[in-house]
Symmetry: C2
Subunit: 387 residues, 2 copies
Amino acid sequence: MIDFVFQNPTKILFGKNALSSLHDEAARWGERVLLVYGGGSIKRTGVYDQVMAQLAGLQVWELGGVQPNPRLSLVREGIALCREQGIQLVLAVGGGSAIDTAKGIANGVCYDGDVWDLFDGKGKNTEVLPLGTVVTIPAAGSEMSDSCVITREEDLCKRGRNTPLNFPKFSILNPEFTYTLPPFQTACGVVDIMAHMMERYFTRVTHVELIDRMTEGALKTVVNNAPIVMQDPENYDARAEIMWAGCLSHNTLLQTGRVGDWASHKLEHELSALYDIAHGAGLAIVFPAWMKYALAHGGEAKLAQFGRRVFDVPDSGDDAADAAEGIRRLEAFYRSLGLTTTLTENGIGDTDFGRMAERAAAMAGGVLGQFVPLKAADCEAIYRLAL
Amino acid sequence: MIDFVFQNPTKILFGKNALSSLHDEAARWGERVLLVYGGGSIKRTGVYDQVMAQLAGLQVWELGGVQPNPRLSLVREGIALCREQGIQLVLAVGGGSAIDTAKGIANGVCYDGDVWDLFDGKGKNTEVLPLGTVVTIPAAGSEMSDSCVITREEDLCKRGRNTPLNFPKFSILNPEFTYTLPPFQTACGVVDIMAHMMERYFTRVTHVELIDRMTEGALKTVVNNAPIVMQDPENYDARAEIMWAGCLSHNTLLQTGRVGDWASHKLEHELSALYDIAHGAGLAIVFPAWMKYALAHGGEAKLAQFGRRVFDVPDSGDDAADAAEGIRRLEAFYRSLGLTTTLTENGIGDTDFGRMAERAAAMAGGVLGQFVPLKAADCEAIYRLAL
């Protein structure tokens, strides 16, 4: 176990009646609220109306139109609006894209220069506007995380920024709000949640038994409950398990005492930057391919542990065999959710592999990940395994 | 899963170099520090000197002499000292007793009346002095908890108070500081840590799979690492697993979405109030007895899950049998740590059972616990099972 600092001050209000706390939680920070959300889904599902009813008595400005891979331009628009109107609380309603847009705004308002400086490391802020969230998509875990990812649309440059300033003051999670998620989005969320856990789980740091076992328990819970919600979207209990797991997957607790890998995430970012593929759907393809590469490059012990403990692979005494079986079961699980696990199924060939691999490695300073350190050639090999 | 609110803002600095952050963490809150600690052990081990070196440049007042089952009189003394000297940070160095004394002081300073009012529900404070901790005994979990237990020595009245005000601002955990713990104290800590998890684990609330599985993983980790530290007290990694588990066992995360039981803790409090027995040692006797009673009163399914998942009891298809085997393995585990699991071994007979049972039930308003609701007669039966 390596030394660590852990602190996560976000207040979580979870459950069927969680939204009834919104007025008090919001009013604590001021009377002038900016509501950030995506398309019309929260209006169709009635969440918007419930939120607005809770905000009665406060002054609310709205910023809709958040898109997946949230855009810098909307962040800039939000910053200007906040400054003009003296906004005191930014409230995101939606999933990771709405929340990350709100985070970008909350940071940018308190920074004198251009907000993009904060993402490419040229600038620094020490304060943010208070931020709250009402979660409708369990996937990104941004509701309790210190991270924020924004895309500059001119050049499709996607940049993340992790800072304790990004922790929301409060997040409201009602599993009922996820009943109406389309099956594909539910499935992608499940993959993303598991990926947040697995990126941290696959570490070269040894003696991390506590967090390994807690992570394995969380992964198993997601694996057990995902088929239930695919079959029965209004199953409160299964939705609740997945929603709370999504939150804990990325709140940095499961990061303590170890170094995470994150290669699969970066390899997927290159994929979805070039092709029209959802992040979770891309991870369902890239993660198993990465695992196969890691298995062939010294990762068999931890991969076997994963297979045995998460997917109940019987211990054959042969790490490599049990690891391979674990990967097969993970792929079968993704496919059972209606997702694909190969690029070919998505009509993607090897045309851009060289470019994607170069970029992925270059973005990481030449070597990507730590469980198996990957140079560009290794990245390309992983894309090939994903064909 | 039931609705819940979760928030824990304590900053954890964990590891071999964690103490090097003490000066900065302390200085953030002011220059006038009250150091609260127990007997001479931190002086013998050198922790005291390391702490004082870190506090160079700050003004430090000292309040030593904290005893197990920390006393109200010392809390009052600390409050007076803080007021006289304008203390800005209370810093506990030690285990749960030092930390709870510091919590009592930090609350009492910000309350106009007598501090005991806060413990018997007659008074309320809304602020506390900032509190930091340097942990040397992994057991109580007070370093990241909202709880504080103080004993009024006149009548041995022991009262707990849970409030978010009790969360320390920061806690420093260096597993090396636990190397010199006597084996008995290490063992008692292990029992206490596991009890904090099990009191929450045994719930009648259903659909709590995520936290169940994370708890099982944490329990298993403690069970696996305890024998290592008993054998090899300076095993950093095993000490680290237990120390971080102790912190997470009581930080309320493992409480989310459920109602805890806490009958065993209350039954043990009555025991250690009358007899000279350490809290952890008492729990090693009372908890298995409580489990046997719960097994005979409808608790077999969850107890079987505990046995199978924590102690690898093979699934025989018979819940009651697997539950009983799980309890046997838990007792064997406690005994392997050098602890006893019966009252008889401690020279305690049934003389006071009636009185203890009446008090335990009365303190809980007539019915103790929720996994199996216990009246006084049930409490007495559990004490008999512990003979």
